[in-house]
Amino acid sequence: MAFIAEPVMGAGGVLTPPTSYFEKIQAVLNKHDVLMIADEVICGFGRTGNMWGSETYNIKPDIITCAKALSSGYIPISAVLINDTVYQLIAQQSAGLGSLGHGFTYSGHPVAASVALETLDIYEEMGLVETVQEISPVLQNGIRAFADHALVGETNGVGMLAVAELVSNKNTGEAFPSEKRVGPHLLDRALEHGLIVRALGDRIAFSPPLVISKVKIEEMFKRFGKALDDTKKWLETDQ
């Protein structure tokens, strides 16, 4: 039995866990011998301000999965890391059966592995974690500056992940009816202003390259602000 969680939920809407969330979960997992799998596919490699999301949220995983930034997305490769307790049991079982019947033709493909190694070299040389810790306040302060905007409810984020939620009533936090497609409308306005972001429902997500400059982040939010204002105008005239 295992429990799997992203340290920060990505596609679900950039949802950060409350402090002590994972510690409390893991106490129960340990008690019942349920393994903890950290899905670090998004959070791994600096995204949350530490090398791993598990470090940011004090997760002690038995198994880690990672992908995406392992090769900076340049070539498909992912990895599963398992601890020795898990490994020993698997080794025992497969010794009994003769071999472990699991593997892909392209597992650890040399070209993908080389690109991943070069990616890790670059991370090391640039000081990935320090870079993120230095630049991420610009992203976090930038997104929170939209908290005053009439269309924006929650603003949140960690490291180089940020989100602004679009709401129909700022005071109650009431959402727009999904058939109104406010998120997608905003994406189109953002495109007009030269910005590519993602709408997870009406939660607008930002996850820029970790090497983005302060000036680029500021420009990114300037464009987002214009898209927000256009969307507000559209809502006003549409009603």
């Binding site: 039995m1 295992a2 429990f3 799997i4 939920m9 990505g10 596609a11 679900g12 949802l15 866990p17 409350p18 969330y21 409390k24 979960i25 129960v28 019942h32 349920v34 596919v41 490699f45 995204r47 791993w52 598990s54 995983p61 198994i63 880690i64 999965t65 992908a67 995406k68 900076s72 997305g73 340049y74 498909p76 490769i77 992912s78 990895a79 599963v80 890391l81 398992i82 601890n83 490994y87 049991l89 698997i90 597992s107 650890g108 040399p110 070209v111 993908a112 592995a113 690109v115 190694l117 070069e118 890790l120 670059i122 990935l128 030269g194 590519i196 930002f206 996850s207 820029p208 990114m220």
Partner: protein
């Protein structure tokens, strides 16, 4: 990013949370070219391996946030998660608890679209009309972190809130191995 009309964009999402180093990094292009010339393909079956794979595994073990022992490579997040789940099942059989095979995901969690990864994913659109989730997985959680946050803040509320959260979970056919977990109020505290 530039589109086919020459219009310039800021890519605020690194593609799909991917391009940590931005686009067009020369060193990565070179690394691929070099490796294609040097050893274009090799596999890891029949006790075979090769330097880049071994070196990468060692690098990852060195970076891991907790002591880790072995690395398995795949090609996507979904495959990595499916692999993790298969290893969990394999381990259950090794320790003689074949009935304890549930993979517990969370509502709104996303782990990919292969059969097991999609099952652990907590969004209906990844299940509907695919006949998912498989019965070896289930998703738990209250839908918003805000609820969890309030719970953590107001520990005294647990007794009051727990029955509200647990009822729908428990009524969803008590799946035996999960029973002790669901009964534990600290799941509620944790947002379950």
């Amino acid at each position: 990013m530039t589109d086919d009309n020459g219009k310039d964009y800021i890519e605020g999402m690194s593609g799909l949370w991917c391009t940590a180093l931005g686009f067009g990094n020369e060193r990565l292009a070179e690394a691929a070219a070099r490796q294609i010339r040097d050893l274009s393909f090799y596999h890891g079956f029949n006790q075979k391996s090769h330097a880049p794979q071994i070196e990468l595994a060692e690098r990852l073990l060195g970076l891991a946030p907790v002591p880790m022992s072995k690395v398995f490579f795949a090609n996507s997040g979904s495959e990595a998660n499916d692999t993790a789940f298969k290893l969990v099942w394999y381990r259950s059989n090794a320790i003689g608890t074949p009935e304890k095979k549930k993979i517990i995901g969370r509502v709104k969690g996303y782990h990919g679209v292969t059969i097991a990864a999609a099952s652990a994913t907590g969004t209906p659109i990844n299940h509907q009309a695919f006949d998912l989730p498989i019965d070896r997985s289930c998703t738990l959680t209250v839908p918003t972190m805000l609820v969890a946050q309030n719970l953590v803040k107001a520990k005294s509320n647990i007794q009051r809130v727990w029955p509200k959260i647990s009822t729908p979970l428990l009524s969803r056919k008590a799946r035996t191995p999960l029973w002790p977990l669901l009964q534990n109020p600290s799941w509620a505290l944790a947002g379950f």
